[in-house]
Amino acid sequence: MSAAGHALALRGLSKRYGSFTAVADVSLDVGQGEFLTLLGPSGSGKTTILMCIAGFVEPSEGAILLDGRDITALPPERRDFGMVFQGYALFPHMTVAENVAFPLRVRKLGAAEREAKVRAALDLVQLSAFGERLPRQLSGGQQQRVALARALVFEPALLLLDEPLSALDKKLRAELQDELKALHRRIGRTFVNVTHDQEEALSLSDRVAILNHGRLIQQGAPAELYERPVTRFVADFLGKSNFLAGTVQEALEGGFAIGAGATRILQAATSTPPIGTPVLLSLRPEKMALLAEGETAENAVAGTIAGWSYLGAGYALNVATPDFGTLRVTLPTWNAPIAPREGLEVRLGWSSAASVPVLDDVSPDDAA
């Protein structure tokens, strides 16, 4: 298959069902050959957006452009997009080979050409030996690969994936993640994926778009989103995070200082909000360290271990602090400086660049 990625653009896309807004004014660009993931909790509008792209849902407003051409009004059967449905939607009365041949058959390809393409597609997903089986005779992972082969066999302009791995168990999911990623590299097509699994989004995608309540909250490369979340929702949804609330006390060179109760925290930043404004800092659990006797750090907070758990590769500690409530800290097990114990007094330290100021966009009904 030739590398022929196409670029997709969403312009001001909205979808309303009566008074309910499923998607609100989403604009998004997917570059040629890019792997974009729409990530969000259930009800965030991610699937509705994918269905708009596929053509099954008609947007209330906005446009969908493929290589600059408006395809908003085009019915799904004429868009030429491959799609892997949730649960795969393999045709139960057709063999694997017939399933894969289906899109070629409706395009009226000759028998010889069809057979060659089906074989190539099954080779691509390493299922050449399974052509004569029925879908129900395959495992979940194999069914998923058949769905992929069927969606790719007609060399679609775009591959759409609707929660492609959600039906699989954890180990298989990790395996197929790697496969999917390798497949994307190999064929160089544009992929748009929808998931609620943040790990899957981080490991698969070139770029991730995070959605909540139908709005696009932030988009960017996985590392960018993880390291520099713009809002509390993003920081919380992508990985785990502590949130430190305080008010701006002082502008400093390369950052500012905030105060919360008796504690003063330094935050690296390029600009300083006005003195006295409340701010929220996101601080990842793995970016804190336990300080030894006499050791110093830019920021240091004392607390007591309120609870802990052993996770194999690491310890997760819940440290109760006077000014920031309970902070979650993770330590690698192999060189943990202490043996965790409830009631143990510890000091947490982190650099001013470890945390990020975020907007507080989490309403009470979002609390997980």
Partner: protein
Amino acid sequence: MMRRQDVGWWLLILPAFLLMTAFYVAPIAQVLAISFTEPTPGLGNYERLFTSESVQRVIVTTLRICVITTSLSLLLGYVLSYRIALASPSAQRWWILAVLVPLWISVLVRAFAWVTLLRRQGLVNETLIGTGLISEPLALVWNEFGIVVGMVHYMVPYAVLPMLASMREIDPRLLAAARGLGANRLTIFGRIFLPLSLPGLLAAGVLVFIFTLGFYITPALLGGGKTLMVAEWIGLQILDLLRWGLGTMMATVLVVAILVTLAIFSRLVDMKRVFGGGGA
């Protein structure tokens, strides 16, 4: 070897089994046995199947009416089921009610209703003459046409129910998937929907066919005694002509025909799905 707990289960159905045998199977077997004993012992009655023109005519007429009725009922029923299966859930309830209501009206009432509609001075003929489309009333009842109309009307709900059940099992995502892969509506229907609804279609076909084979009241009323189907013919032999041997011979043939149809059908389709056995 049967395990002990299995024996327990079989004991549970034993009373019902004995009741059925004593009051249903045994009397029927006794009646059917008459076909071998009256008027003289032997296979004389069955010989008539090959020699008597009137016996053969009844069988051919019955089969012809059954095939036509079954085909029409399936066609109408399929269209109706398709429409219902694709309707919104609230609309589905109204559709199903509309399909089921005729089932609750006496078959006698419905047959007479058709007579008043279709007879020479009936609504249909009067309307057609009134609009000047025809000058002489059409013979719409007391013939095969009338029988078929009445029977199709009776059978459509029986055709709809199994077909609707199997159509509802079709995952709508399959239809969306086919569309997304580039198939137009006709292809989706022909390659996905129709093959997946085929078990329901077969089940409905067998159900309707078996029903029509033994149908009595509707053909008797709408056939006007001129077109005889098997059930009416049996009644005639036994009640009016007192030819018990011939009547029970035909009854035996009817029972065997039904059993053979079911046997062939059970080879084709999983019977549990048709009559709603548990599990998927």
